[in-house]
């Protein structure tokens, strides 16, 4: 029932439709920008939904706000900054790769490099232990001794 979880969140969105026709901007290019921005914004009172998917009142307010800022001539980044400044970083689904969040972003690549390095070292070690190492001078002398006898 892992999926059950989604559900509580989904109650609301289903109650009221998500994006409604009257909210939409007449210019398709601007509306497309609004949708692109909405994908990054989290409804502050819901459980992990974008403002587009949510039917909560505040999500509707945010959708309208995004469109107002677009009409006011803001760029996508400016709109996002405007909203995050007012509602906090909690509403941003894409943590910027700055400050401590940098750790989040580089965790995967760093682990990949580490893993590749470890695997390479293990492979080298394995081959080294598999191929018989050369005899040193003392062993060579002993070997000759043995063979002579």
């Amino acid at each position: 029932m892992r999926r059950l979880v989604l559900i509580l969140a989904l109650l609301w969105p289903l109650a009221a439709a998500a994006v409604t026709p009257d909210e939409m901007l007449p210019d398709p290019a601007q509306e497309a920008r609004a949708r692109e921005i909405s994908r990054l914004l989290r409804c502050p009172v819901c459980q992990g939904e974008t403002i587009d998917d949510s039917g909560a009142d505040i999500a509707a307010d945010l959708r309208v706000l995004v469109r107002e800022r677009i009409l006011a001539g803001d760029s996508n980044e400016e709109v996002i900054k405007y909203i995050v400044d007012r509602y906090g970083e909690y509403v941003l689904f894409l943590p910027p790769a700055r400050g401590v969040n940098l750790v989040l972003w580089i965790a995967g690549p760093v682990m990949l490099l580490l893993a590749l390095m470890l695997a390479w070292m293990a492979a080298r070690r394995r081959r080294a232990s598999a191929t018989p190492s050369e005899l040193n001078a003392e062993e060579q002398a002993r070997l000759e001794q043995i063979l002579k006898n």
């Binding site: 892992r2 999926r3 989904l10 289903l14 026709p21 989290r42 992990g48 989040l104 972003w105 990949l112």
Partner: protein, 653 residues
């Protein structure tokens, strides 16, 4: 009384699990045959007891016994019979009982089919499996008793969440749990091997079918959940990177890695320590998933049970098994010496790379899922990590995985030549590049995603076919029927992955959406279809009322279909649901949703065109089928029978 029998059976199962944990383990240590032999009957008795308990709970649901608190809270006398039955696991306590039922089912299966295992290994495996039962039965009995009675039973129940009253979702949890819990078998084998200090090719051969089965069930479970989200939630999304989805995705990735590394143990006696570690981690992720879903610790998770007491209990179980397993690993891993040597370019190395990429991608999902929790603990910052992050951070690893997969599958064991494998794939490579180019042209360069997805899809499918072709050698297609089933399984699973990757890329890049107000009788066009809202009517279902629209779809003036999207309200649960109407075709779905009535008398109508939607789940089903075919390979069937001791024979000791 029946509910009390159920409760009693559960306590009995707990007692038996305790015996199963302690006695065979001591027996295996001291080489006492009699003590070791306790394991099998204990596992069977424990299974029967849990079946009785589960049956008792199901009886309470089916007969709508509202004196049982769980039934009163989660069922209703009007609910259709199918959902009375599946409602048993539509809640925290019942689903936990299902979890334990499947756990004991695996234990019983190991007891029944483990006849070819050496006695001490079998005793230890069943003892470890028993200890997991002890932990989860204690969890059930102490914090989540499904059989609690109500002093004043209500006349009728509160009903099951209507979103769960759906066939797709009804069978989603059992499959997921078969997957999660199946990984406990790999864990038990790993711990038993660590205690014995010995791993050989036979161990790999015993572990692989269990892992394969678990992975297969997880694949089906995840696909069912994703398909359900697609048609039921009403906006055509299929994956949300929600913490709870991630909780099932991480074990799937690790199980994928494990079943590949187990091949290396089985065929080449190499990567032993690594495979044991993976088995421990895989089950660790299963438990982590359970913790995420049931503790409510991650705020974004609309989890089952937001009960701190339960969360702490599961955390303790997780710490015990994962911590204990890792400690044991640290102490004993040195004893696992690899025998098989391999060059840097070889099948083994390719499988190591597969493992690294799968584990790292699981790690990315893990960090992203837990980062908000960590940030809040460490710096008191409330932040979110959602789909845009995972799409950016996870996808590259999977793209690389898909790129190297067909090459790796063609490399020979021990030592190979990269140039030769690439040369064998030259035709497939050309096709893949052509497909990418075609996708780019067709999509008029809208997104880089579609060309990448199309290219990778063709690369994987073509690679799988080429693999089969090369396996036939000079004998041509006539040899196809004589190939081992494992070869077909591999081709199916790898090709299925290609189909899913293409479906995901296509639906993400090429979906078209339209939201508008439509009056009854009015028409509009979208992507070559003409849609007419014929009328909207009210109706009554068994336990809901519905608003149903009749949408006529035509193309070039000819009628092709009527679609009936619905909006339902379940009065008992007080909850609305959206029933999208979907016309599924191989090359794309037409997806229509009816919204709210508008002030001017029209209706909000949302229409999506979802290209290649079915390919996502079709590919997943092929992957699972590949697992099944592989599971039926001769070497498992024959090996299972060959080393069985004479029935009824007395051990020589």
């Amino acid at each position: 009384m029946i509910a009390e029998y159920g409760h009693f059976a559960l306590v009995l199962a707990f007692a038996v699990a305790l015996v199963q944990t302690v006695v065979p383990m001591i027996g295996a240590q001291k080489r006492w045959t009699g003590w070791m032999a306790v394991a099998e009957p204990a596992a069977l008795i424990q299974f029967v007891a849990v079946v009785v308990s589960f049956g008792a709970l199901m009886h309470a649901f089916v007969t709508s016994d509202f004196s049982v608190a769980l039934v009163a809270n989660n069922s209703n006398s009007l609910k259709p019979m199918l959902y009375k039955v599946t409602g048993v696991w539509g809640n925290h306590e019942g689903s936990m009982l299902l979890w334990v039922l499947i756990l004991t089912l695996f234990g019983a299966a190991a007891a029944l089919f483990g006849g070819n295992l050496p006695a001490p290994l079998r005793a230890r495996v069943l003892a470890v499996q028993g200890s997991i039962s002890v932990a989860f039965l204690a969890f059930l009995l102490l914090t989540s008793n499904p059989f609690l009675r109500l002093a004043n039973p209500p006349l009728d129940g509160a009903d099951l969440n209507p979103l769960l009253q759906d066939p797709g979702l009804a069978f989603h949890p059992p499959f997921l749990y078969l997957g999660y819990v199946g990984l406990s078998m790999a864990f038990s084998f790993a711990i038993a091997a660590l205690i014995e200090g010995r791993i050989d090719a036979a161990w790999g051969r015993w572990v692989r079918p269990w892992t394969l089965a678990a992975w297969m069930f997880l694949t089906v479970g995840i696909a069912l959940g994703s398909w359900w989200a697609y048609y039921e939630l009403g906006w055509g999304g299929f994956w949300f990177w929600d913490p709870v989805e991630n909780a099932s995705f991480m074990p799937w990735l690790i199980a994928g890695a494990l079943l590949h590394s187990a091949i290396v143990v089985e065929k080449r006696e190499s990567l032993k320590a690594w495979t044991v570690l993976l088995a421990i981690i895989a089950f660790g992720f299963s438990l982590t998933g359970t913790f995420i879903v049931r503790s409510g610790v991650i705020t974004s998770v609309h989890a089952f049970a937001n009960d701190p007491e339960r969360g702490v209990f599961i955390l303790a179980i997780l710490a015990f098994f994962l911590g204990g397993g890792l400690l044991l690993f640290a102490a004993r891993a040195g004893a696992m010496e690899a025998k098989g040597v391999f060059a840097l370019v070889s099948r083994e190395s390719a499988l190591v790379l597969n493992n690294i990429l799968l584990v790292v991608s699981a790690f990315v999902v893990f960090t992203g899922t837990l980062w908000p929790l960590f940030a809040e603990f460490a710096w008191g910052r409330k932040l979110s990590v959602g789909a845009p992050f995972f799409e950016a951070a996870f996808t590259p690893f999977f793209v690389v995985l898909a790129l190297v997969l067909p090459v790796g599958a063609l490399l020979p064991w021990k030592r190979g030549r990269l140039g030769r494998a690439l040369w064998q794939l030259r035709g497939v490579l050309a096709l893949a590049l052509a497909a990418a180019l075609a996708a780019w042209v067709w999509g008029t360069g809208r997104s880089a995603l579609a060309p990448v997805g199309a290219g990778l899809g063709v690369w994987l499918i073509g690679g799988a076919l080429r693999d089969l072709w090369l396996r036939c050698g000079t004998g041509g297609l006539s040899r196809l029927t004589r190939l081992p089933r494992a070869d077909f399984g591999r081709a199916l699973a790898h090709g299925g992955l290609g189909i899913t990757i293409f479906g995901v890329a296509a639906i993400t890049a090429w979906s078209v959406e339209d939201i508008r107000v439509v009056q009854e009788g009015e028409s509009f066009t979208l992507g070559g279809y003409e849609l007419t809202l014929v009328d909207v009517s009210q109706g009554q279902g068994p336990n809901y009322v519905t608003t149903k629209a009749d949408v006529l779809v035509s193309r070039d003036g000819t009628e092709i279909a009527h679609l009936y999207p619905e909006k339902r309200v379940y009065p008992v649960a007080g909850m609305p649901t959206t029933e999208a109407a979907i016309r599924s075709r191989p090359f794309g779905d037409l997806y229509v949703v009816i919204g709210d009535a508008q002030a001017d008398g029209g209706w909000a109508v949302r229409t999506h065109i979802k290209p290649f939607a079915m390919w996502i789940w079709g590919g997943a089903i092929l992957m699972a089928l590949g697992g099944l075919v592989s599971l039926l390979d001769r070497r498992y069937r024959v090996a299972a029978g060959a080393r069985k001791p004479v029935p009824g024979g007395v051990p020589a000791e």
